[in-house]
């Protein structure tokens, strides 16, 4: 039996307080009646009501959801392909460049990714709008998907796929009926990660957006620059609730799948 010392307990407690108190305060003060965010004026849900009246916020939310859905979906496909290439294709000409292009966007400062893509779109004369934001998000999100999926592919037992091929399946059939179902949890996790990253991104979207394609982070950012407002607290609370429920459900599902797999 390992001892769980007071030192470990303290550092864990301190760490969790640091991580969670700001978020909890944000949520608590979204129910504040007072317009002054930091002065408690009694419980109220009026800011949620006002949020629902705010058409600009709602349409930004709709744009953001569309961008996140399409970019996550394309990124899941491209990222899975990239992972297959990284894990399966062995050595081929240009492999180093390829793996460099997969890993570099993960650590690239967002200002550089955003600026360079914008300059590409301008030189190709592509009008900026939702389409360009989707392309930009797909590009960096597919790299995250590739990392998540390739870590699953590494542990994949290839003899299963070979058995399918021996039994007469075409490589494409074998992929869809054997490989994909097994790596599906990783692909779904990658999709969720891509979706959240897109939902969350301010910098790359700011560079690549155009008229009529204001995303929620851009809207929040311009509101926050003017100061703290209870309406933003309410919006943040809704977003935090959605994400937390999603993550908890996903992890419970993962647990159940792990159990049935034995």
């Amino acid at each position: 039996m390992r001892r769980f010392s007071w030192f470990n307990a303290t550092s864990l407690t301190f760490g969790f307080v640091f991580l969670y108190v700001p978020i909890l305060l944000l949520i608590i003060y979204s129910f504040n009646d007072s317009k002054l965010v930091t002065v408690w004026g009694g419980f109220s849900t009026k800011w949620y009501g006002e949020l629902m009246q705010n058409d600009a916020m709602l349409s930004a939310a709709w744009v953001t959801l569309q961008v996140a859905f399409f970019s996550a979906t394309i990124a899941a496909v491209l990222g899975t392909m990239a992972a297959m290439v990284l894990v399966r294709s062995g050595r081929f000409k240009g492999r180093t460049l390829f793996s460099g292009m997969v890993y570099a966007p993960l650590v690239m400062p967002e200002v550089i990714t955003g600026l360079s893509l914008l300059l590409l779109f301008i030189s190709l004369d592509i009008g900026r709008g939702m389409f360009t934001v989707i392309l930009a998000h797909t590009t960096f999100a597919m790299c995250y998907v590739a990392v998540v999926v390739s870590s699953r592919l590494v542990t994949f037992d290839r003899s299963l796929e070979e058995a399918a091929l021996d039994l007469g399946a075409s490589p494409l059939d074998a992929f869809f009926s054997v490989t994909l179902p097994i790596i599906a949890p990783a692909v779904i996790a990658g999709w969720l990660l891509a979706f959240t990253l897109s939902l969350d991104d301010l910098v790359i979207a700011s560079f690549n957006t155009g008229p009529g394609a204001t995303t929620l982070p851009i809207k929040i950012y311009s509101a926050v620059r003017l100061g703290v407002s209870p309406e933003i607290n309410a919006l943040s609370t809704i977003l935090i609730a959605i994400v937390s429920v999603g993550v908890i459900v996903a992890s419970l599902m993962d647990k159940r799948m792990a159990k049935t797999r034995g």
Binding site: F4, V37, L78, I112, L239, V243
Partner: protein, 301 residues
């Protein structure tokens, strides 16, 4: 034969995508960084027509001009923002390590049944919006904010502290936002560690503290290094945190690039700033990639 073409299709599609949307844009940034500013939209005079053939390339090299880079050296604003970015990122990385290591250690020592829950609690904030988490600190750190209200109420201080719009707020913001990136790699190395090694060291006469420095820290080193990279690299180019939490005297290169681009509309200088920032990060990025590859090879074995 058919197999081979399928293989090239599989490689080709993601390859082409990354080439077009990741590599080509950099070449364009480089090109614009070497251009003169002109009052037109886009506000630069293109110096290389990619489609004009080989003759144009020779022409291009003869006309190359490092004026924008000279400008970066001459104007102290840029040098100062580079240095200050490095300083802020280093200090934040160090602080994140000081908080992250004991935390990861505590997690690794916690009863095994707790660990999945602890892990999820560390990852959960990462999924919630970055912007929102930074925003949350504004209400806490303001002069009339919650931290000052609390400290005045307890009587620790008599006058409110000025934290928001200073570098301290930027450190807090970076440590807060990137702490999970520090904790997770350290935790994964510590979790794999065999406790009997510590027992052996203690049996051989080490004190608990010297066993910690002689055994635990070296074994956790890959995780510590990975964590430091994962905090340092994004922190150097950070824009949102210095913009929202820092003050006018907080210089960071991401912020400078942003204002060069959006406020001054000087695209060539913004591109030159991006190129220098990239050069600054190339060394840590390459080191980091090498390390990941080595780890993957070790795992595959």
């Amino acid at each position: 034969m058919e197999n081979k073409s399928r293989k090239w299709l599989l490689i080709g599609i993601p390859y082409l995508w990354l080439f077009l949307f990741f590599l080509v844009p950099f070449i364009i940034v480089l090109k614009i960084a070497l251009s003169d500013i002109a009052i037109s939209i886009p506000p630069y005079t293109p110096q290389l027509d990619l489609f004009a053939g080989l003759g144009a390339i020779g022409d291009f090299f003869s006309k190359l001009d490092f004026e924008n880079f000279k400008w970066l050296i001459d104007d102290t604003l840029y040098i100062n923002s580079y240095l200050s970015s490095l300083k802020i990122a280093s200090i934040s990385t160090f602080l994140a390590l000081c908080i992250g290591f004991p935390f990861a250690y505590g997690m690794a020592k916690a009863p095994e049944s707790w660990r999945p829950l602890l892990l999820m609690l560390v990852i959960l904030p990462f999924w919630t919006s970055f912007l929102i988490r930074v925003y949350a600190w504004i209400g806490i750190l303001k002069t009339e904010g919650l931290l000052n209200q609390f400290l005045l109420w307890t009587g620790i201080i008599n006058d409110p502290l000025v934290i928001l719009n200073t570098n301290i707020a930027v450190y807090i913001g970076i440590v807060y936002s990137y702490l999970p990136f520090m904790i997770l790699p350290i935790y994964s190395t510590l979790e794999k560690m065999d406790d009997s090694l510590i027992e052996a060291a203690v049996d051989l006469g080490c004190t608990k503290i010297s066993a910690f420095w002689a055994v635990t820290v070296p074994l956790a080193l890959p995780g510590i290094i990975a964590g430091c990279f994962l905090v340092f690299i994004p922190a150097v180019g950070e824009f949102v945190i210095p913009d929202l939490l820092g003050g006018s005297q907080t210089l960071m290169i991401g912020k400078t690039l942003w204002s060069e681009f959006f406020n001054n509309r000087d695209w060539p200088v913004a591109s030159a700033v991006a190129i220098v920032l990239l050069l600054l990060l190339v060394v840590p990025i390459v080191l980091f990639q090498k390390m990941i590859e080595r780890q993957q090879e070790a795992e595959a074995r």
